[in-house]
Symmetry: none
Subunit: 400 residues, 2 copies
Amino acid sequence: MNWEDIAKELSIETETKIVLLVLDGLGGLPRDGKTELETARTPNLDRLASKGACGLTDAVFRGITPGSGPAHLGLFGYDPLQYQLGRGILEALGSGVEVGRNDLVVRGNFATLRDGLIVDRRAGRLPTIENEKLCEKLNSSLIKRGGIEIRLYPGKEHRFVAKLTAEGLSDCLSDADPQKEGRPPIQTLALVPEAELAAVIINQFLDEAAEVLKDSAPANTILLRGFSKFPAIPTMASLYKLNPAAIANYPMYRGLAKLLGMTVLDVGPDASALSDVLEKHIGDHDFFYIHFKKTDSAGEDGDFERKVSAIEEFDRSLPRLLPLNPDVLVVTSDHSTPALWKGHSWHPNPFLLVSKTSRLDGLTSFSEKECARGSLGRFEARFAMPLMLAHAGKLKKFGA
Amino acid sequence: MNWEDIAKELSIETETKIVLLVLDGLGGLPRDGKTELETARTPNLDRLASKGACGLTDAVFRGITPGSGPAHLGLFGYDPLQYQLGRGILEALGSGVEVGRNDLVVRGNFATLRDGLIVDRRAGRLPTIENEKLCEKLNSSLIKRGGIEIRLYPGKEHRFVAKLTAEGLSDCLSDADPQKEGRPPIQTLALVPEAELAAVIINQFLDEAAEVLKDSAPANTILLRGFSKFPAIPTMASLYKLNPAAIANYPMYRGLAKLLGMTVLDVGPDASALSDVLEKHIGDHDFFYIHFKKTDSAGEDGDFERKVSAIEEFDRSLPRLLPLNPDVLVVTSDHSTPALWKGHSWHPNPFLLVSKTSRLDGLTSFSEKECARGSLGRFEARFAMPLMLAHAGKLKKFGA
């Protein structure tokens, strides 16, 4: 019996509200002895820490640096080792492409074909504006087949997402990409008998695309890799009997929230806007996932100061959010993005939980170091969900 | 390879003695900043904390509120997700009904049948004294069939436990209970072919009971739900080579101990009696599970002061117990029952281990907050057993 079965059996609908604040990439590494979070002036977060219980989470397990997909899945109670989202679906979500249950998505490159060989897998990193034009040209030229729709969505430079919509398409397909230059283009192969139909359609599409593009060198063909269907993942409503909403600005997080059945609410990139949206919709949902991206972006850029500022910006927004008085408030991150590391890292995430039923750890500030001393201990992020549900009174007793 | 296999392979018989003191529902929540345990004057527990190592346990995992069954199974080293005790067996244990390996037990209700429909599933919550009379009447009227014995044990109001004794009875049976009023009574159905025999016997019994009761309205029929056999659970002797004893007053805990093969010793409800019984039997066993109920009862009643008093009562009993000098002494609880929550909760349990081989955490008091700082960390309660066995020198090295 695993957590999903337990959740389905024990969860109950209540009036209580959970707010999960995710400061993307919050955790850091010390510069001159202090991390970004320790450097930032955060009187509101510090006060919250003194009113709740703290801990540290690992997105997957110790030492594993997660992508945004697994890191977020864990926070929502999904085992990130069980649910691995395909590259195609993440690229689609990240590009703001809507993906439904009958869609098959895949990452694409414009590439250069010469004398029957792929000589440049990125078509000279063609300008994004050219990419957009070519996608439009292909979209208007592709022959519609009975019940099958194919659409390309331009990305940056040579990248695009292709979406095929039809019933019964399987994503058990090999990449239509020779991976190395100097090789001939290759077709996709069905990896299971049920994928034969999809393979035929995709290989026809590849031929047609090459025909349409034949005079557009260097972008005179396309490569496709990472075929993905809408993943077979249960919704948060089905697992937890929640009516959840996401307040997020970036396509990737909005798309992921949608995958899990959340209502996705619009918001800008600034922290100040988050509480406005929460206030407006607080009556409509019982679970709010609120995503703040600037901390991660600054960390990725290796900009320690900007990450400190982003944390302070978030902290300043809290006095408007707290009076909305959720029954359970969690502040944490999906993964660490230390400015000194310039990317996602494996370091654990600060985790702070405030509710009427939380024990008080007596900590006086919110930081990686203080969280390491908190009573919640160190745990895999997928246990955050049972913990939040329990504090919200949304889980019945297990066993008699 | 799981813990049970490891335990069987590595455990050895020794002269050393383990005493596991379970203060039921010990963990709490703060009132005016202090939990019940922090409020109580506990000089003896505090002194023990300074002589041992501390930690916090989760009965199942973070966020899960356990019933008494899973909470205790964990403490004895059984995975509570693997061994789920049926409602019938727990009701039987809680009622003090002895359950053997050939017994099938089930929860029963007296109910009211009118014009072919169950119109009251609780027979007007008939007086317990009436219940007792009806159970006696049924017990004396039921026809004994070859090798099959059926016996009813009255509970409170409309509730009873029925026990069927025969070889080869399966508990894979549907409830003989329409669950809602205004519906006709239903028979039990065999959910697997092996349960056919049990289904036939039970449905005959239902008919006979209705016949015996036909003039006893409102209690003129019975409903049965939660058929359970003695669970297929290995004994502590078979896993750990222990000769374990339980010192417990309440039927539920005595019954559970019996399930695991413990010798169950009699004791009253007061803490002072526990050490008397332990002293008398210290030479007979190498593992003692000692259960103190008052902390939980006070918590369930929401009586903060009474829970504080119960903790202090227990603390005062320690000076008589400690000179018995067990090699490993653990003080913990099965689950938290905060007075402010008035029920079992998911908050982790304080855990204190004293032995010659324990590291010293240098803590000066025994409380939830101090335990959060202890060197044992936060762990699932099922790891308490390997820890106790190790400190008692009862586990060999794993691997070469």
